[in-house]
Amino acid sequence: MNLEKVIFSFFMILALTLNFGFFYGDVHNPDHHNVYELYAVIVINLIATIMKFGDRSQLGAMLLATSLVANVQLISAAVVWAVAEHVQAAGVTEATIATIVSLSGGAVLANIISVVILVLEASMLRH
């Protein structure tokens, strides 16, 4: 067992599960989507992205790309939330929470691809 691989996989899968946890629930209901969870998803996703830096293989490039996509989606969601709450007078409306959740839904998809690649790579190794 390789500790580095364990940590690497841990962060990638944690990014997916947290992301899913945030995404799951009624799209219009702010009570179903916790801000702490979004925060945790972003942090874990950033760490997962950095762990993929510098891998020159084709699969490594794919992994990095999916992580970058997830980051773009999640950070946009966070920006939307911050702008809605602090800049706009109306505050966080149902429409805003729907936008935030659907953005994080995109990130879930990217994270799923990432985990699928991870599993494929692991299954390609012959023991």
């Binding site: 801000v35 702490y36 925060y39 942090v43 950033l46 760490i47 950095i50 762990m51 830096f53 510098g54 891998d55 020159r56 490039a61 966070a78 911050a82 709450e85 602090h86």
Partner: protein, 579 residues
């Protein structure tokens, strides 16, 4: 991905993760720990404000306690935050700085810069292996003639010297071992525009290896090799190396030429010399006794030339084994072989310097060579001196020594390769001259000195094809008669003379030496000219530009635009008659 970027990303993983972790924990703490607002009501920072607060605190900008003054619980957390986040931040910064300074990273950057400039080359280029004296001389000549070069050398200083040179076209340099096939390929051998490999390192073994690599991996690319030993030369020629250049053989050939006819030597020297330098003076060789200091590779060849002329020679060398060898091979010879350096008065006197006509100081030590020349001149000021210069730095000393012919191997090789690449027709012309009579050569020399000024002329070849001279090509295809005298006119002002002389026209493998003024040109002729750089400019202008060509042929500057033609009343039909 670029190796340098990849290296940075991989090394930056740990610092970035540290920063993100510290930031996220700090932010989370700021959100969780309760504070009070202006009215004393309990209040929680949200993520937006917490991230804002941590960002300006961690980067030591520090705007203060906003939006409300912090509680003591918050202050404890901020204290912890500051220490950890500032440490994390500086750790990341110092990591980047130290990464940039590591030799591995520097090398990665240099390699990727080289790769980029190689990819940007969009014309044919030569791969020059070895940037020593010969390499510098050659690259200067090529790069300033608008040919592109790429240099590979395993010496760090050589590549650094190249970096600070200011050539007309940029010359990328790679510090790598040209004897390693992958390195040579990386340096541009596998590039589709590589049109020649020039192996001019100072080791024959290395040049041989480069020739083998090039010929095995890319048989279509011409290879030019410098070699100083005959066995290597034969080895290189055995697998079709395109040109091998031995400076000693080349010089021996030139020397033989000089002994045969000093005019021929002068012609050779003028035409192949570095353009716009002062022309060398003619040398008159008298028959008589020669003293030969140094019986190495150069000495042996010169001895042979002198013997073939039937002249008496005395040899001076330090190595007794060479004398034994010499006596064994030339037992019937009455040539004296003296053991000594040839730098002291005693040996030189013994060799008969007082009555000699010439001195060859051809050892591989510059100080000894200079010393022999100075000592010999004290006894005999009429001497013809042939000096071998081994190092570029001693150039001024040899010039000051009054030696008539200075043999510098690096310069000879560079000169030969430059002529070979820039002007192959000139080599053809000189070979033709070698077969001509002495009178013919004397006439050529006097014609030449009437045309050119006191500076070494430029020699160039114009090919009358569509690519190089479109105006000439289209005029000839219309059936116009163009002769040599037409193109020797100044396209700016016809009454002004241009200082240029056509040396040879090559047509279907036939050479026409010194074409007359009414020599009629046809398509795809190759013309070898020699003249000033201004003349080169004027003539190539005429060949490219149809207006200039019309002007020198008819002295009328006919307008080409529809309105212009309408105003001057020259319809297209009339104009064609005019031409």
């Amino acid at each position: 991905m670029n190796p340098a970027t990849s290296l940075i990303l991989r090394q930056m993983r740990a610092p970035l993760i540290v920063i993100i972790t510290v930031f996220s924990i700090a932010t989370l703490g700021m959100v969780v720990i309760p504070g009070v607002d202006a009215q004393g009501q309990p209040w929680h920072m949200d993520f937006f404000h917490a991230l804002y607060f941590v960002s300006f605190t961690a980067t030591t900008i520090g705007f203060g306690e906003i939006p409300y003054p912090l509680t003591d619980a918050q202050r404890i957390w901020v204290l912890i935050t500051i220490f950890f986040s500032v440490i994390g931040w500086f750790y990341a910064l110092s990591k980047i700085v130290s990464l940039i300074q590591t030799p591995i990273f520097k090398r990665a950057v240099i390699h990727s810069n080289f790769k980029r400039s190689l990819n940007q080359i969009n014309q044919k280029f030569y791969l020059v292996c070895g940037y020593g004296e010969t390499g510098q001389d050659l690259v200067e000549g090529l790069a300033n003639k608008e040919s592109r070069c790429v240099v590979i050398d395993n010496n760090h200083n050589a590549i650094e010297t190249l970096e600070v040179q200011n050539y007309l076209s940029y010359v990328p340099g790679l510090e790598a071992d040209a004897q390693v096939p992958s390195q040579l390929e990386y340096a541009g051998l596998s590039h589709k525009l590589c049109s020649g490999v020039i192996a001019i390192t100072n080791s024959d073994q290395c040049n041989l290896k480069i020739a083998i690599i090039s010929k095995l991996l890319h048989p279509g690319i011409p290879v030019i090799c410098r070699t100083e030993h005959n066995d290597y030369e034969e080895n290189m020629q055995s697998f079709n190396t395109d040109h091998t250049i031995n400076p000693f053989d080349t010089f021996a050939h030139t020397f033989a030429m000089a002994m045969k006819s000093s005019a021929l030597y002068l012609l050779n020297d003028w035409l192949t010399g570095v353009p716009d330098t002062v022309l060398s003076d003619p040398i008159v060789f008298k028959k008589g006794h020669w003293v030969l200091c140094g019986y190495g590779r150069l000495g042996k060849r010169i001895y042979q030339t002198l013997k073939n002329q039937g002249l008496s020679v005395t040899i001076i060398d330090t190595i007794p084994a060479l004398r034994d060898h010499f006596i064994m091979n030339n037992s019937d010879d009455e040539t004296k072989f003296i053991i000594g350096t040839g730098t002291d008065a005693k040996t030189l006197k013994e060799a008969g310097i007082e009555n000699a006509v010439g001195l060859v100081s051809g050892s591989d030590n510059d100080s000894n060579n200079l010393s022999s020349i100075m000592t010999a001149q004290m006894f005999n000021s009429e001497l013809i001196i042939i000096a071998r210069q081994n190092e570029m730095v001693n150039k001024e000393l040899f010039l000051a020594s009054n030696a008539q012919i200075i043999m510098h191997p690096s310069e000879i090789v560079a000169r030969q390769i430059r002529t070979l690449l820039n002007n192959p027709l000139l080599i053809e012309f000189l070979l033709e001259c070698y077969l001509q009579s002495t009178e013919w050569i004397n006439i050529t020399i006097s014609l030449l000195s009437g045309t050119i000024s006191e500076l070494t002329p430029h020699c160039w070849t114009s090919i009358l094809n569509e690519e190089e001279s479109p105006a000439m090509h289209s005029a000839l295809s219309k059936g116009r008669k163009i002769t040599i005298k037409h193109i020797l006119k100044n396209p700016l002002q016809r009454h002004k003379k241009i200082y240029c002389m056509p040396l040879m026209v090559r047509r279907n493998n036939n050479n026409f030496l010194l074409p007359e003024k009414d020599f009629q040109l046809i398509q795809n002729d190759e013309i070898l000219f020699c003249g000033s750089s201004q003349a080169e400019h004027h003539i190539s202008h005429c060949m490219r530009d149809i207006h200039a060509l019309n002007y020198v042929m008819s002295f009328k500057d006919a307008p080409d635009s529809l309105l212009g033609r309408y105003i001057t009343g020259t319809t297209k039909h009339k104009r064609r008659n005019n031409d």
